[in-house]
């Protein structure tokens, strides 16, 4: 009995297997912007047309989304600020730097800033669980900007681990 027991122990010790097959689950879901790993959640603002709850974040500062009192865009040759339009939060597992790139006719006229006035275009660091409150500054003082021009049509958010 003693000899057999030590024999069994030796077999376990070598771990010499010829084949192992294992099936493992892989589950991946698509979440709305408010609950995804990169959270983009619009505030309760007129200019936020999709707050990311059930969809993807969308802002509209144009005649398609005129204010009830008739405003259909920013003024020419002016600087217009919109406070707290949306929140960006890191709902992943690593610290990330979030940047934004804008595309359109005059991307430089549009700046996103966090609560400290840091430009999102330069990258904002977010620890795990951290969020940034994003404001918008639109500067139309550049002479190249004409009335009725669309300044930007889309932006891309990049979140990359530090």
């Amino acid at each position: 009995m003693g000899a057999l027991a030590s024999g069994a122990a030796a077999m376990v010790g070598t771990g010499a297997f010829t084949s192992v097959t294992a099936a493992r689950d892989i589950d991946v879901a698509v979440a709305d912007d408010a609950s995804a790993y990169l959270r983009l959640k619009g505030t309760d603002s007129h200019y936020v047309t999709d707050d990311g709850d059930g969809g993807t974040l969308a802002l509209d500062l144009s005649g398609d989304n005129a204010t009830p009192s008739g405003g259909s865009g920013v003024n020419p040759n002016a600087v217009t600020e919109f406070g707290s339009l949306f929140e960006i939060a890191n709902q992943g597992t690593q610290p990330v730097t979030v940047e934004v790139t804008k595309s359109g006719q005059h991307p430089d006229a549009v700046a996103f800033e966090d609560g400290n006035g840091d430009a999102l275009a330069d990258g904002i660091e977010l620890a795990v669980g951290e969020s940034a409150d994003i404001s918008l500054v639109v500067d139309t003082t550049d002479n190249a900007i004409d009335v009725d021009e669309q300044l930007v049509d889309s932006v891309v958010f990049h979140a990359v681990d530090n």
Binding site: A9, A16, S19, R24, V28, A29, V30, D33
Partner: protein
């Protein structure tokens, strides 16, 4: 005196038993022997399948000792409930497979790509597409065209390879519309 008599008769019985064994004439033998086989959890198995020890290991769960890749709201270790739509998500260093046996093995993982499409192709009306790709981070890997598996040859004892994941989901209506709920088959052969 009565005690001594008892001992002698016991000896006679033992002697008779020895004689029967010598002839080999027995009808049956029942003998219990120890054979020790332990079921380890995935991390401690001969083929270790475990979450990566970095921060993105949190996207994998260990349930009843089995690893699962879990990028859903069922994963309480991560605040987010899934990948963003209209976005490309990369998760580096998600899980690790290590040869904890004594033989060099060939590791095969299948499938490599997972796809869920909702909608119709003709006429084209796509409600949602979710594609997920597994990428080994280390080791010399190749795709075996005969078996349609990702193959990592010559994984030496103690050697490991990390896996990363890339996911792309579009358009916006893909939210809660498409989901990967599948199995990953991992085979190691000496």
């Amino acid at each position: 005196m009565e005690r001594r008599t008892f001992v002698l008769s016991a000896g006679a019985i033992v002697g008779g038993g020895g004689l029967a064994l010598g002839t080999g004439a027995f009808d049956s033998v029942e003998a219990e022997r120890d054979v020790s086989i332990t079921v380890a959890d995935d991390a401690d198995g001969y083929l270790s399948i475990r979450p990566h020890d970095g921060p993105n290991g949190a996207y994998a769960t260990m349930d009843d000792g089995e690893l699962a890749v879990e990028l859903t709201d069922d994963n309480g270790a991560v605040a987010g409930d899934g990948v963003n739509a209209n976005a490309l998500t990369g998760v580096a260093n998600l899980f690790t497979i290590q040869n904890q046996g004594t033989n060099e093995v060939e590791l095969a993982v299948s499938p490599l790509t997972f796809l869920d499409v909702s909608g119709s192709i003709f006429p084209p009306s796509i409600d949602g597409v979710l594609g997920v790709l597994l990428v080994p981070q280390s080791g010399s890997w190749s795709v075996d065209p005969d078996r349609g598996v990702l193959s990592i040859t010559d994984l030496a004892p103690g050697e490991e390879t990390d896996f990363s994941l890339a996911a792309v989901a579009f358009p916006e209506s893909a939210i809660d519309e498409v989901e990967i709920d599948d199995e990953l088959l991992i085979t190691a052969e000496a």
